[in-house]
């Protein structure tokens, strides 16, 4: 493969992705509490969801398990990605909390929550069995 061919293919790759964007393809997942809980139960072996804190913008949720464990559900393109949280230390931020997955490449998610919801989340994390 010559350098010219490589450059041409690279330009084609960028053009196709650009066309997909210009056509308005994609979107965000329709995330609600039920779906966040179902997603965590389906993806994580032995996880029994008890409830969920849903970010107001619908792009992330923190699901708590009946055994005191937690799962982070976040939007990934038009789909969702889930991680069980081995350690949880939500960081209060303006308008909500930031939850780290513990994996650098998976990253963190910010949950936009009303103050009362945020306080309830922080209290639940604080009171979890260790």
């Amino acid at each position: 493969m010559s350098a010219l061919q490589l450059a041409g293919l690279l330009a084609t790759v960028l053009a196709l992705a650009g066309i997909a964007w210009a056509m308005g393809l994609g979107g965000s997942p329709a995330l609600d509490r039920d779906r966040a809980m179902a997603e965590a139960e389906e993806r994580l072996a032995g996880f029994a969801a008890g409830g969920a804190f849903l970010s107001e913008d619908g792009v992330a949720a923190l699901v708590w398990g009946e055994r005191g464990d937690f799962a982070l559900v976040k939007a990934h393109g038009v789909d969702l990605a889930v991680r069980r949280l081995s350690r949880i230390a939500p960081e209060p931020v303006e308008g909500g909390v930031r939850v780290h997955s513990g994996e650098r490449m998976f990253g963190a998610a910010t949950l936009k929550l009303l103050p009362a919801e945020r306080d309830r989340l922080l209290a639940m994390v604080e009171a979890r069995p260790r």
Binding site: L9, A17, W21, G24, L25, G26, H76, D79
Partner: protein, 299 residues
């Protein structure tokens, strides 16, 4: 005899068909494509071409070397092409099954499954580390049998080109006679799905008959819509992470595992295997799903 590279010749058609599928997605369901996912898939495809160019000469030299020890001279006849195509597809089935059942090969193949989308750009999301994982050993029997190296590589190229069009949700089911013999979008959607029923099924390249023969066939069902990707979704569009994450995970497991037997297990056992049984494999996931299904049927 000099033969063309079918994959290189097909690239313009690949591009046009991806564009056509995007138009269909725009009209029917915009969520079938995600621009960032498309960029990742196509970039991985470009990297695969580059890796193939770098390793190509060495692979051909290895093929010619193996051909020196051939059992018979098959030569260049029309029936040799046909037989070569069929046997190469069988070799592909064995390779592909191993790529899902042996973590060393999976580390390379997982790239192709790491998108949560199933469209023609996913078809181009191909490995960068095929040579490293020694995937070429699965074709060695063909050279040793006596098929010409150029013929085998030509047939392998045709096989890859065939597999492009089956990566789509735009085509439903095809006529029963076709679905019975050939790999189709429906059969391959099952292969890319992470639903417990569909895990590690339908390994075929061109002919689905191999799966029917060897007990790995599963039909697509309307009441169990395929969900795509890998069990532990990446949650990232990073190209390098998609290309190397399983190699990195395997290296970490290897380092941390107690004893040589366990270390070997992380290389050659099925993906998800762990020395302490703390992770899930296809078998444990399917067993749990069967138990749950049986319990809900009883209630």
């Amino acid at each position: 005899m000099s033969l063309p590279n079918p994959v290189a010749l097909a690239i313009p058609a690949f591009i046009l068909l991806v564009l056509a599928e995007m138009v269909v997605a725009r009209l029917k369901d915009r969520r079938r494509y995600c621009p960032r996912d498309t960029l990742t898939s196509l970039s991985l495809g470009l990297g695969n071409l580059l890796a193939g160019t770098l390793a190509g000469s060495l692979l051909f030299a290895l093929a010619v070397g193996a051909h020196q020890y051939r059992l018979i001279d098959i030569g260049w006849t029309w029936w040799a092409f046909l037989l070569c195509f069929v046997l190469d597809d069988l070799a592909y089935y064995v390779f592909h099954r191993s790529a899902h059942r042996v973590r060393w090969f999976w580390a390379s193949h997982v790239i192709h499954h790491s998108s949560q989308h199933y469209n023609l750009s996913t078809a181009l999301r191909q490995t960068w580390t095929g040579f490293l994982s020694l995937a070429f050993v699965f074709r060695l029997p063909l050279f040793l049998l006596g098929f010409e190296p150029a013929m085998v590589l030509f047939c392998a190229g045709l096989n890859l080109v065939y597999q492009f069009w089956i990566h789509t949700e735009a085509i439903g089911r095809l006529p029963p006679w076709f679905e019975a013999v050939m790999n189709t979008p429906s059969h391959h959607r099952v292969h890319h799905a992470v639903n417990p029923r569909y895990l590690d099924r339908n390994y075929a390249g061109v002919f689905i008959v191999w799966d029917r023969m060897f007990g790995t066939f599963e039909p697509e069902r309307d009441d169990d819509r395929p969900r795509y990707g890998i069990l532990r979704q990446l949650g990232s569009f990073n190209i390098l992470w998609a290309a190397f994450h399983e190699w990195i995970g395997m290296a970490r497991d290897l380092w941390a595992a107690p004893g040589w037997r366990n270390k070997l297990g992380y290389l050659v056992r099925e993906p998800g295997w762990s020395h302490d049984g703390s992770r899930e494999t296809t078998e444990t996931i399917r067993a749990r799903w069967r138990e749950r299904t049986a319990a809900s049927t009883r209630n």
